[in-house]
């Protein structure tokens, strides 16, 4: 471990671009720096207090038409030199790609994701949010036996991109959020349900409301009875539909399409969902969890409609997947932290609200109200669209909630599900996956229970 001077990410970028120009290498530098505070509370006390400061740079070089990647969190000059050498060495192993190149993109949109900042907010205030949340959840109802998970978190981060084609971009953003997951118990049944709030303005945080909402959702699950097995009509909550869409967002990736891993490949312009379905990706809402002015290559961010009135209208692309598909980047170059390579990913996915109100959606329906799924990292297959997942929900009798259901399963194919949507609710629900969706009604959903 070398204990030499560490550069800032901006200085590291300048240093690397200079070295690359000296060596005649085409280079892109992507840098991230973030500081954050998180406070976990348990049983009326702060159980963990964490201060984070993390920075690093990811490098991408183009040698004879082939990309090589590397990254380093050690920002000493020798470590930066080693990272550049390593990226060049990697490029020499990789197959060349037609159309590979770096672009000095035009200016991105002006987007204030920083708000008022956190400079006037004391550590005590942050701690208070976590404690208030914990107390409000514990005191909300005698059936709350514990609040195992809950706390406050904020982040102040900077992101930059630069390349030897002359691009130089920087952006800052900030958020504060809190979350709680109360555990409730009655008659030998334990249920837990989380809730959360995300904001760019600290003063908007409302721990009491979040705590009461989480407790209410957890209590609603008590008294669960076994679910039947079979195929039933269903109302799928916006939160649950958003969870499903998050699992299958890769279907819209130009990279997955070109590698034969998307069931939507070759279907541009075709109907792939009910005519009631319009799906957009929008990187620009100020309150969006994944909002940004430019993507991981520095390409300006603009909204993109993926499904319009049920027809597949676009795939998401970065500059390289676009070049190979004979189109232009949609601004969806993405990095998962510094460690990965440049891929394709959505920002904020939004399934557009419709015009059916909540009561009309369930009207007359005897079947299931599906409110959550889990296990998606293994039980959902984005290559086929099939899913088979742990589910949570309620039994509906003639449109009225009869009782919650014990743990059961839900299985199907996401494209069949989107095609089977019969009505779309008029209210959007935001989720921590950065996907928003309304409640929808479908004619048939396979569930497995007792």
């Amino acid at each position: 471990m070398t204990q030499t001077e560490q550069l800032s990410i901006a200085d590291a970028r300048a240093y690397l671009l200079d070295r690359a120009r000296e060596r005649g290498v085409t280079l892109e530098v992507y840098g991230e720096r973030g500081t954050s505070t998180s406070v976990e509370a348990f049983g009326g006390e702060v159980s963990e207090f964490k201060l984070e400061a993390r920075q690093g740079v990811a490098l991408r070089v183009l040698v004879k038409g082939a990309w090589g990647h590397s990254f380093t969190e050690n920002l000493s000059r020798p470590a930066l030199d080693r990272a550049l050498d390593s990226a060049i060495e990697n490029a020499e192993l990789v197959a060349p790609e037609p159309g590979a190149g770096l672009v000095a993109w035009p200016e991105p949109p002006a987007l204030d994701l920083y708000g008022e900042g956190l400079s006037g907010v004391s550590v005590e205030q942050k701690v208070q949010v976590a404690l208030d949340l914990d107390r409000a959840a514990r005191e909300a109802d005698p059936r709350v036996v514990s609040v195992p998970y809950g706390g406050y978190q904020d982040s102040d981060s900077q992101r930059l991109v630069g390349n030897t084609a002359g691009l130089s971009r920087e952006a800052r953003q900030l958020y504060a959020l809190h979350y709680t997951a109360p555990l409730v118990s009655e008659g030998g049944q334990n249920k837990m349900k989380p809730d959360w709030q995300f904001t760019r303005e600290f003063t908007e945080l409302d721990p009491t409301r979040t705590a009461l909402s989480a407790v209410e959702k957890a209590l609603a699950l008590l008294g669960a009875r076994p679910a039947p097995s079979g195929t039933f009509p269903a109302v799928i909550s916006g939160e649950c539909l958003a969870e499903l869409l998050a699992l299958f967002a890769g279907m819209f990736s130009g990279k997955m399409v070109e590698e034969g891993k998307s069931p939507l490949a070759g279907r541009l312009g075709e109907p792939v969902a009910s005519p009631l379905v319009t799906l957009r990706d929008d990187p620009t809402p100020v309150r969006g969890l994944n909002s940004r002015a430019f993507d991981a290559e520095g390409c300006p961010s603009v909204p993109l409609t993926l499904i319009e009135g049920g027809r597949l209208s676009a795939f998401m692309h970065n500059a390289q997947t676009a070049a190979r598909a004979g189109t232009v980047s949609t601004g969806h170059a993405a990095r998962q932290g510094l460690q990965g390579t440049v891929g394709v990913a959505p920002s904020n996915l939004i399934l557009q609200a419709g015009d059916t109100d909540a009561a009309a959606l369930a009207s007359g329906l005897t079947g299931v109200r599906l409110t959550g799924v889990s296990g998606g990292h293994a039980g959902a297959n984005p290559i086929t669209g099939d899913f088979s997942l742990q589910a949570e929900g309620f039994w509906l009798e003639d449109g009225v909630t009869a009782y919650p259901l014990e743990v059961f399963t839900v299985a199907g194919n996401i494209l069949d599900l989107l095609a089977g949507i019969e009505a779309v609710g008029n209210e959007l629900h935001d989720t921590p996956d950065a996907v928003s969706a309304p409640d929808v009604r479908v004619g048939a959903l396979a569930i497995g229970g007792a």
Binding site: S70, N74, S86, L93, L183, N381, A411
Partner: protein, 464 residues
Amino acid sequence: MLSQTLAAEVLSLARRGGADFAELFAEDTLTTTLRLHQGEVKDAGGGNLFGAGLRLLYGTRVVYAYTNDVTPTGLRDLADQVARARGGAGETTREGTGGLDFRRVDAAPLYVAREHPLHAAKRDKLALMRRAHGAAAGVGDVKTVDVNYLDRVQRVLIANSEGVWAEDERVWTRLTVSAIAQDGTLRETGSYGPGAGQGLEFFETATPEQIGAEAARIANAMLRAGYAPAGKLPVVIGNEFGGVIFHEACGHILETTAVEKNASVFADKLGEKIAHESVTAIDDGTIPGAWGMVTVDDEGMPGERTVLIEKGVLKSFMVDRVGSLKTGYARTGSGRRQNYTFAPASRMRSTFIDNGQETPESLISGVKRGIYARKMGGGSVTPGTGDYNFAVQEAYMIRDGQVAEPLKGASLVGNGAQDLRNIVGVAGDLALGQGMCGSVSGSLPTDVGQPHILISEITVGGRA
């Protein structure tokens, strides 16, 4: 990595606010990632993870801070920050600044890599990948093959105010093949990804050919499968990665991270019978060369073999330092973290159900109508409720004691406390499988494992 003088100074500075305990964790990690798609090298990357974290304990309360600035100035700043974080750096105990009497933790490495990944050329790693590709591409209906290679060399230093000084180098290698079989509009996937706490010599035992062939076999076996039925059925679960059921259903809720918060249905069940008598379950950090091996854990304690359940009786939890302070149970060398950005927490290492008396055939032959889940996917659990789920990658119907037609799209859901009692038969073919386990202290290499087992009744999620 750091001098003892500097580490001692930083630990003392950090404790100025009156903390009971301070711990410094420094890390310098080099990774290599390579991806072949259809036999062509698509991605070559990797790099250097580099930083240090400081943890303070005030009673059982944790203050943690980290930075990438591992210079003397950066570490002194970190110590100031962490000391201030609790509010007020009033009492100063300067005793021992620079004078902590460190004792090296005497733990001989459980395994030393023979073909160290840092000394092997990337072209040699690509050659292994090409062999794996060749064993999968074009086999049966396999049309698309991805091969991913990973190696990670993590060098760590753990020093604390009790005088512990532990240095360790952890080496991991892994090769994963994903195959897509396709026939017209039918499409299915198979994947297999063994790994080890070893160097490239691991691929002499788990050969790239075997890995590629296994991924292709699963994809082909599932291609023309019908959908699994839904409902409660008896299930025989295969060995190796089948152990993910115990990992999710029981492992996570035997970690003190869940127990200390009363978020575990087993919190007050020590010494009680919680499983069928055929079940003995172990969490072992001491298997040389295992993916979940810990020569020392991330709190500087040598790994242990911990018997969790013996003949159905709950014998131990998995305990880290804070878990020990909160519950009173002795530490078990289970304090683990993904990297310096996480404070350690109690986590699994190599967790498995031990061998029983039956054979896979005898288990299957006793089932009239049920499911044989030969290869598992991943899963998850909700601590607190114990409700878990996991996906089956390769499944078959069992009819009249015989393995019958293949089934796709099966998931299994249940409740750990209940289903542990429903394990009614355990075979003798224990094997370990490798996975990445995500929890409060990040994503960690863990082994799951078991022999074939029979569960009398479990909810199967299909759609037939």
